[in-house]
């Protein structure tokens, strides 16, 4: 039993690097893309721009992640763009995440009173300074808890990358199951690994929230 557990654990650990890589790669894309789109959506007074961004958000939020991964991995291959499975997973999950986080950041900006911006303009700030120095820090603070939730969600969702054969934890779990039939032990071990990885994210987000609670009265 112990020997078998060792083998299983060693097998699953091979996938940890890819799981973390897909998670943080996609998270990075999602945060940068989501924040950039939110800035454009809130401060760029273009109807066409708003329509394009809204269309992107709805397109990516309302189609299953698995369908997106298949489209990027197999669909692009059929027109000659052959991405690696890990790259495809990072790109797919990142683009979906960008749509979710755009809404999160946008809600952060829209929660601010318009007087915050007016006061910045009144002291002689340019609009870009008002966004950078006054509005963004406040919006990010509001967005931090939902972004943290999204990050833990993403760690778990990275498991769908196994469907396009990205060698992450669940990919190895399934192949171990077919070779050893230790179904329960393998999946319980995999579950344990996910918990061990997601708890640090949860604690890190809490620490950040505390750090940036700064001027917020309880």
């Amino acid at each position: 039993m112990l020997l078998r557990f060792d083998t299983i654990l060693a097998g699953l650990l091979q996938g940890v690097g890819v799981t973390l890589g897909v998670t943080f790669g996609a998270l990075l894309i999602a945060i940068i893309l989501g924040f950039a789109l939110a800035l454009l959506r809130v401060f760029w007074p273009s109807r066409i721009g708003a329509f394009v961004i809204d269309a992107y958000i709805e397109l990516f939020r309302n189609i299953p992640a698995l369908a997106h991964l298949f489209l990027i991995y197999y669909g692009l291959a059929s027109v000659g763009v052959q991405l690696g499975s890990v790259t495809a997973a990072i790109l797919g999950l990142g683009l979906i995440g960008g749509a979710s986080l755009c809404d999160v950041f946008r809600a952060g900006f829209e929660a601010l009173h318009k007087g915050q911006r007016e006061a910045a303009l009144a002291i002689g700030m340019r609009p870009s300074q008002a966004i950078r120095l006054i509005l963004t820090p406040q919006a990010l603070r509001i967005a931090l808890p939902p972004v943290g939730n999204y990050a833990t969600q993403l760690l778990k969702d990275s498991s769908i990358a196994s469907a396009i054969a990205a060698p992450e934890i669940m990919f190895f779990a399934r192949s171990l199951v077919t070779s050893t039939f230790e179904t329960t032990l393998i999946y319980v071990t995999a579950a344990g690994l996910y918990i061990l990885m997601s708890l640090p994210i949860v604690f890190a987000v809490r620490a950040l929230e505390k750090r940036y609670a700064g001027g917020q009265a309880a």
Partner: protein
């Protein structure tokens, strides 16, 4: 009129079909304190917000000394409204104090006052801090320099907001009902600070409901109603002996 610091000429403002300002003319000399009074909906706040272009006028002109505010007119071309970026240097010359303070909650009291010095005026950080503390001293808030705004009372927040406006080193201070959002017991501390600034000889345009304060602090009072100036005159005279019927009715109503 040549020594006017601020001139408002034929100012009009409409929201759709509703005309809030219907041709306002007045001026403020250097060092003068002018109070705008009138019933709610008379357009006095809108008028004040047009001065630094937080509201864009529909017609008319604002002059700060020799400079036309918010409008760019090159020779032979049509006038056009400036963007917020173009307006920044002009707005910097006019300090504004809002009814709801609008301190920035993610910055300390000191940072609220110094950020403009550093980022707008390019003052080195150490010097900016010294100036900011000096301004906080003036409003008796230096002891809270490291506090965050959410932990202050309304009266304290408004005094910090006044220090923030002073740090702009403005030619003109605009007050938009600075005590209307305060609990009654906190009004006095803010009015005292404004009174002290008035005694320093600063130029002020003040929208207020505090008639007694307007009488004591302002040199001149302008009474607005229905988007027009009904009458204006020396503060004491206008408040004690209003000539116009509408002014009389308004003053009777608020201080029976």
């Amino acid at each position: 009129m040549s020594n006017a610091l601020l001139r408002v000429e034929s100012l009009r403002k409409s929201y759709g079909a509703v005309e809030v300002l219907r041709g306002i003319d007045f001026s403020v000399r250097k060092g003068e304190k002018v109070a705008l009074i009138g019933p709610s909906g008379s357009g006095k706040s809108t008028c004040l917000r047009c001065v630094n272009m937080l509201e864009k006028p529909s017609a008319g002109a604002i002059w700060l000394e020799e400079e036309r505010v918010g409008v760019r007119a090159s020779a032979g071309q049509r006038e056009r409204l400036m963007s917020d970026a173009e307006l920044a240097p002009q707005r910097r010359q006019m300090g504004m104090v809002f009814q709801l303070f609008y301190l920035w909650p993610h910055l300390t009291v000191l940072e609220n006052v110094s950020v403009g010095l550093i980022k707008v005026q390019g003052v080195p950080a150490a010097e900016a801090k010294a100036i900011a503390l000096e301004m906080l001293e003036k409003v008796h808030m230096a002891h809270k320099a490291q506090a965050y705004p959410d932990f202050l009372s309304g009266g304290q927040q408004q005094r910090v907001a006044i220090a923030r406006a002073l740090a702009q080193r403005p030619k003109l201070l605009l007050f938009d009902e600075p005590t209307s959002a305060l609990d009654p017991e906190l009004v006095g501390e803010v009015l005292n600070v404004i009174h002290e600034l008035a005694d320093e000889g600063r130029t002020m345009l003040l929208v207020t409901h505090e008639i007694r304060f307007a009488r004591d602090v302002a040199d001149r009072v302008i009474f607005m109603d229905g988007g027009v100036v009904v009458e204006e005159g020396p503060a004491r005279e206008l408040i004690q002996h209003p000539r116009h019927e509408r002014t009389q009715a308004f003053l009777r109503q608020i201080s029976p």
